[in-house]
Symmetry: C2
Subunit: 224 residues, 2 copies
């Protein structure tokens, strides 16, 4: 019985699940689909409402695309994460285009946008949950765009890591984020978040011992 | 009686005003202040929660600042508009810095962030209103950033307007937005929104008859 499965999944993920009526729960489950996306598959291209996507395994990448076909990663979604930006019919206010690809083979539950919108219309808790999810993601995205496109923090951090690696003749940089921030004249929080972004891109590995450079070529490209 | 004044103002602006209790309405009014900001005054610099700002007259400009002190306008607020991004204590998820200046002499009502947060905590309608306001602004901002920083649409449109103005030997370009979009290989909606952004910056004036270039120097700077 698929309903039972969806119900179990949603109970774990949605803080509002117990607060809505049996009928609304059933309606959401009836309008859900189990999807398996193969690595590399484009799931959403901004042209239509793809619904609310819940990641059960694997990972999805959200990105923007320039007219020349370059893309910039906005964020990644992993097990238990929810993609609201693909549901433009739920968040009417979203007016920019975002693309979603499966970065690994991924299992997802997809809730039809119209069904989700209808149920959230009569349940303020769902509406708040959806909006809070979106605001939180937006805020992350704004931060990344500000740092990358406006402050060139990605470039500056890449230059620092390459210079330091050359200086100490090692790919492992045993400095704290606070120390790096001090050298760069930036804030620890900025360095930590940018390193996390680099780690997500597979450029570095961050551990307690320091930063390990995994992909020097991509780091060099960032300095151009 | 200031309470009466705030109550009158808020009744006009807030769709939730009639749905909350007398006590909550009173609490918001008691934690409101009438402020007059002189042209050029910095109202919010991202360092602390400045509360929810409602514009009664004049205009405010929200912008981001680079480390070199360059700024980029995110959007403007006019009479009846509400600034939620200044209330970081209401929207916990907001983690990037935004600045707010008075662009003209402006009268505002400012609701203390803590008071607004407390009342919205017990009124889902307020929470939804605040979040929807934020999502809608975020979405506009993402669009602007995508166009300006990623697609260079500002540059491309500036080049087109200057070229066309030189060709026809006039500062008034009598083309529709759709025609310009066609020439530029872009979409009408993109051109319209970017022209609106230019108009907000005082670079052009948009009317039914076409586009009038007001500030050729700033247009030229955009093409660099």
């Amino acid at each position: 019985m698929p309903e039972t499965t969806f119900d179990t999944v949603y109970r774990e993920i949605f803080p509002f699940w117990d607060k809505i009526s049996d009928k609304d729960r059933e309606y959401i489950c009836q309008n859900s689909a189990d999807m398996v996306y193969q690595k590399g598959k484009n799931i959403h291209d901004g042209s239509e409402c793809s619904g609310v996507i819940l990641v059960r395994s694997g990972s999805l990448r959200l990105y923007m695309m320039s007219e020349e076909g370059k893309d910039i990663t906005l964020y990644r979604l992993h097990r238990g994460d929810l993609c609201m930006l693909s549901a433009s019919c739920v968040l009417n206010a979203v007016t920019f285009d975002v693309f979603v690809d499966a970065e690994e083979d991924s299992e997802c539950c997809v809730i039809g946008g119209a069904a989700f919108a209808a149920v959230s219309e009569r349940n303020p808790d769902i509406r708040i949950f959806a909006l809070e999810t979106a605001v939180s993601r937006f805020s992350d995205v704004m931060w990344v765009m500000q740092q990358i496109l406006f402050m060139s923090m990605d470039k500056r951090l890449a230059i620092f890591l390459l210079d330091e690696s050359a200086r100490i003749e090692s790919d492992i940089i045993a400095l704290t984020h606070g120390q790096i921030a001090k050298y760069m004249g930036s804030a620890r929080e900025v360095v930590s978040r940018m390193l996390k972004y680099f780690a997500g891109e597979g450029i570095v590995e961050v551990s307690r011992g320091g930063i390990k450079i995994l992909d020097k070529n991509r780091l060099r490209k960032l300095t151009l």
